[in-house]
């Protein structure tokens, strides 16, 4: 029978702590950029102008229909050849996750905006409001409320995706665990600890999101 020994991990919290900090940095960067970019692309998807709609559609289909790990490998190994200088693992991982998140966010924005009844547009237009103002004051405030559950789910998915950055040697949680397990020969404890950290952080969040979903349905 295998004897578990979590003592090393408890005595050296620095390992996982360093990993968690990097995971959070990657998450914050890719979530922020992804959301901002997603809003712009979502507007493009919603637009009836071809020169806005087409590039936005291609972007969304490209990043939604290829695996995110392939995207990360592309940004880390392939893009530097094209641009002539190498990217750090953090930059490449952020680019891939942000691009992926933006494509998903764009679809949520578009669906949210489309879900607002046409009468809202007509009423605002009959008051002489401009497109930008209708969007900002009437449509988005209502649409964003409906988007909250979908966004929260995607945000949790994104947090899970940060672990992929370990494959391009970005020192996030999973990478630190691999490092520790190869030095201490304790893969069971190392990988179990990472799984537990993810679960402890994300489980309460999934419960809150489930709450949102129930509220949104009413």
């Amino acid at each position: 029978m295998y004897e578990f020994d979590f003592q090393f991990i408890l005595d050296n919290p620095g390992f996982l702590w360093a990993g968690l900090k990097h995971t959070l940095a990657l998450y914050a960067a890719s979530l922020t950029i992804g959301l901002a970019l997603g809003l712009v692309i979502g507007m493009g998807r919603y637009s009836t102008r071809k020169w806005l709609n087409w590039p936005a559609t291609i972007w969304v289909e490209l990043f939604r229909n290829t695996p995110v790990l392939v995207q990360m490998m592309w940004f880390f190994f392939a893009l530097p050849v094209l641009i002539g200088f190498s990217l750090t693992a953090f930059t490449a991982a952020t680019m891939a996750l942000a691009a992926n998140a933006s494509a998903n966010a764009a679809e949520i924005f578009r669906a949210g905006i489309q879900s607002i009844h046409k009468g809202q547009w007509e009423a605002s237009r009959s008051l002489g409001m401009s497109y930008g103002r209708i969007m900002r004051r009437i449509i988005l405030p209502q649409a964003i409320r409906r988007m909250v559950p979908a966004f929260s789910n995607r945000a949790i998915e994104l947090a899970k995706m940060t672990s992929l950055a370990s494959t391009i040697s970005y020192a996030e949680l999973l990478y630190e665990a691999r490092l520790m397990s190869s030095m201490q020969f304790n893969p069971i404890e190392a990988f179990t600890a990472v799984a537990v950290v993810f679960f402890v952080v994300l489980y309460p969040l999934t419960r809150i999101v489930a709450r949102f979903e129930v509220d949104a349905r009413i």
Binding site: Y2, L69, V70, S166, T167, F198
Partner: protein
């Protein structure tokens, strides 16, 4: 950008990439089938009226759905063999991890599908004195599975994308083969672009197909779950 694209070296190794794509598709199919079968079993346990059965199963489902798939894969590949003393191959680790993960997902879909079946169906079946297993097999599940079709298809596509993670434990899927080819011909840009194109060529038509199925079901008034 005046980069000189040269796809020749990549296309000379195209058979290696196609071999990888074949492995990707095979792994997806195996894990989808195992995930559905195992998912149904887990859903039935989850629906058990015995608290001592349904509560731990619920926690297990949550755990498998929340912990990132790559962490689970690493755990099964590096940690599990020490724990139970078996010889682990990348293929077994990949199949076990992705099947169980899909099963946890499908369990919730099955549960949603089963409880979405209206009460009068249960009552009608019961009033015919049908045994519980027959009722499940003949009345409830056929209707529940129809409602689950779009979700199952969507999940299949998600699963195909997730299989790319197995390259991290050296299973020879499309992404792993692309890494190998790019290292042997020193053309990462072309190789990874072609690999991404191959994924897109499979996944994009599949997603469009799923969207069509969804639209058709919605138009003919079939209710769906998931």
């Amino acid at each position: 950008m005046d980069y000189d694209w040269q796809f020749g070296p990549v296309f000379r190794n195209f058979d290696l990439l196609l071999w990888g794509l074949g492995n990707t598709l095979m792994l997806t199919a195996i894990c989808l089938v195992l995930g559905l079968i195992l998912g149904l079993a887990i859903a039935l346990l989850r629906l058990s009226r015995l608290w001592i059965v349904s509560a731990p199963i619920g926690l297990l489902i949550d755990f498998l759905r929340i912990v990132p798939p790559l962490v689970q894969l690493m755990w099964v590949f590096f940690a599990l063999p020490i724990l139970i003393d078996v010889r682990m191959t990348p293929f077994i680790a990949a199949t076990v991890t992705l099947s169980i993960q899909s099963a946890a997902f499908f369990a919730e879909v099955f549960r949603g599908g089963i409880i979405s079946i209206e009460r009068d169906q249960w009552e009608a079946a019961r009033s015919l004195a049908m045994p519980k297993a027959t009722m499940m097999r003949r009345i409830i599940l056929p209707q529940a599975i129809t409602r689950m079709i779009p979700t199952i298809l969507e999940r299949g596509i998600e699963l195909l994308k997730t299989t790319s993670l197995v390259s991290a434990i050296s299973f020879a899927d499309l992404l792993f083969q692309a890494t190998q080819v790019s290292q042997s011909v020193f053309r990462p840009l072309e190789t990874f672009t072609v690999a991404a194109g191959l994924y897109l060529a499979v996944i994009l038509p599949a997603s469009i197909g799923v969207r069509l199925v969804e639209r058709r079901m919605a138009r003919s008034g079939v209710s769906t779950v998931g």
